[in-house]
């Protein structure tokens, strides 16, 4: 009776280990064609990213875009201080190279008198991914609405966020890298056109990406 039980346990263990062994066998690098990229995306594959890093205020500019006077955020952080930025992104692959998605970002900084200033952009994003195994270089453009709060003042603006990333693929699911994103925030002011300004900022963040 005891011998029968041992046999059943052994068979059960073998069945349990078989899929694990097969899975590891599938990830053997020598089975991948050398010239192929490590990851290949297909329609419907999704990704989640979380990013955090630095937010650098660059300058404000009067309208028009070409020719409007530039008001620099001087060396001593005259208007806004360099502080933190972060974002969460969901994306869906359309092909191996194209991806679209949504991004919710946020920055928190202060002015020279330590008055808090927040921005919360919610953008739709399109990316073109250049593969260079084991790296990926997405070039992207996001646009959407931007909620701004400074002291007690609340504004809603449009935002455009072009940028690029360099991602090192740790494995089939995970990638890690760096984002460099330009924030262009035009604030039109129809009540008084002379008060319209364009905000120009730079985001440099580290990112972790999960594909599934």
């Amino acid at each position: 009776m005891l011998r029968k039980l041992n046999l059943v346990l052994l068979v059960t263990l073998l069945f349990c280990c078989l899929p694990v062994g097969l899975a590891f066998a599938q990830e053997e690098p020598e089975e991948q064609p050398v010239e192929e990229p490590f990851t290949i995306y297909t329609l419907g594959q999704q990704s989640l990213s979380i990013s955090a890093g630095m937010f650098i205020p660059l300058f404000l500019q009067e309208f028009p875009l070409f020719g409007g006077a530039v008001i620099p955020n001087a060396e001593d952080d005259k208007m806004l201080k360099t502080r933190v930025a972060g974002s969460l992104q969901w994306g869906i692959h359309l092909s191996n190279n194209w991806m679209t998605g949504l991004e919710i970002g946020g920055i928190l900084t202060k002015d020279i008198n330590d008055t808090p200033y927040y921005m919360l952009p919610i953008t739709v994003k399109g990316s073109y991914i250049i593969h260079f195994f084991p790296f990926e270089f997405p070039i992207f453009l996001g646009t959407g609405m931007n909620i701004m709060k400074y002291s007690d003042i609340l504004n809603l603006t449009w935002i455009v966020k072009p940028g690029f990333s360099s991602i090192w693929k740790y494995n089939i699911n995970w990638g890690f890298g760096l984002n460099v994103v330009y924030w262009w925030v035009p604030q039109f002011w129809p009540d008084d056109h002379t008060k319209g300004r364009m905000g120009n900022f730079l985001e440099i963040t580290l990112t972790a990406q999960y594909n599934f």
């Binding site: 208007m79 020279i112 002291s151 925030v185 905000g199």
Partner: protein, 377 residues
């Protein structure tokens, strides 16, 4: 599917509309462009409560600020120094310059009144040695029994008469009793009678017209219609006189008008015969708690402080033109302003705002920027 349509076509636009309506009519980037460093770091802590300030000008020119500790700053220096109190650890909330002397009411840390003191800041270094830190002061205590060892709530020069409000604890009735005195020479204090005793301390007084002494205490408005100031009659049992559900905040005479503020959002103007009032000024459906006035002779406007909403400007003194100030980007915008002081000796004038918890602020004209700017002392 129906739910999806509702979300897409009704709920999301509705939410966006509500959000847009909630946005302010001030452009943030344009506002940011005007930001400048406000902290001049002149030695006063930025979060202290400053109750009153005044200017003494004779041989020397000194600013004094009563902030619990009494501070002084020579107009030629950029640093505030504390003054030694008459009793170690004593505090001061009210000061006034009268007859070439600085008067200050002191109390002990437990609230016990020490009475009224005075000093000649020009008498240096005999009784006012500003080479020391804190400045060594030999205070002279006013010996008149009216103010001696009393809690001094207010000391103010009202048209050449020094008025002093005191509070005395009545141990039998277990409550404070409030008194008011006047003096022409600073030595002999005559009691000012009330026809109906106030339940709150006197907080402000003004001389109006020829002559009327107006006094406010809590929600009571008194007047003495003849000099000398000795007999106050309660005015506002009469419903045609200003009424407040809270208490009055301040009085001001400008030209032929008398202004009165209250802590329920109301402002009044009296032209000698009738009272004119604003509609109630509200923030989030609550009346603004107005405090003291200042006649800003630099611009011809009247400013009135508040408890927690900065100050309001009455352009040219018109009640209909009341506007909240200063810029929302400054802490002063949300501060409680106890009082103002305007120094007109230095053209084009320097305005001081004494706040509760946000220190002392100074508004000066920036010739480079071509605008008035507030700085924290």
């Amino acid at each position: 599917m129906n739910l999806y349509r509702y979300i897409r076509w009704i709920i999301l636009p509705a939410l966006l509309s509500v959000f847009l309506l909630g946005c302010d009519k001030t452009p943030i980037f344009y506002t940011l462009e005007g930001v400048y460093p406000i902290d001049k770091d002149l030695g006063l802590t930025n979060n202290i409560a400053v109750f009153e300030m005044t200017l003494f000008s004779d041989t020397d020119t000194w600013y004094f600020a009563a902030a619990g500790t009494l501070y002084a700053r020579s107009s030629s220096t950029d640093s505030w120094k504390p003054l030694s109190p008459p009793v170690a650890g004593a505090s001061c909330d009210t000061i006034e310059v009268f007859g070439g002397l600085l008067y200050a009411g002191f109390y002990e840390q437990d609230g016990t009144g020490l009475g009224l003191y005075r000093v000649d800041p020009d008498d240096n270094p005999a009784s006012f040695d500003d080479s020391t830190n804190p400045i060594s002061v030999n205070w002279t205590k006013i010996a008149d029994a009216a103010v001696q060892d009393k809690q001094i709530g207010m000391v103010k020069d009202v048209g050449g008469t020094l008025c002093v409000a005191t509070a005395v604890w009545n141990d039998t009735d277990k409550k404070f009793e409030y008194f008011f005195f006047s003096t022409a020479d600073g030595n002999n204090y005559a009691p000012v009678a009330f026809d109906i005793a106030p339940a709150d301390p006197v907080v402000d007084s003004e001389l109006y017209g020829g002559p009327q002494y107006w006094v406010i205490a809590g929600g009571d408005l008194y007047v003495d219609t003849s000099a000398p100031l000795d007999n106050l009659v309660l005015q506002n049992p009469d419903p045609t006189e200003p009424q407040t559900s809270g208490s009055f905040g301040g009085l001001l005479v400008k030209g032929t008008d008398l202004y009165l503020s209250a802590k329920d959002g109301k402002l009044w103007r009296y032209d000698g015969s009738d009272w004119d009032d604003t509609t109630t000024v509200k923030i989030d459906d609550t009346g603004v708690r107005f405090t003291r006035f200042i006649d800003d002779t630099r611009s011809g406007d009247i400013l009135v402080g508040t408890e927690g909403a900065g100050y309001y400007k009455l352009t040219g003194g018109a009640l209909s033109s009341v506007q909240r100030r200063p810029s929302p980007t400054l802490d002063l915008y949300k501060s409680a302003i106890n009082s103002f002081y305007l120094d007109t000796a230095v053209p084009p004038g320097i305005l001081f705002a004494c706040t509760y918890g946000s220190g002392l602020w100074r508004e000066v004209y920036d010739t480079d920027a071509g605008e008035w700017k507030w700085y924290q002392e």
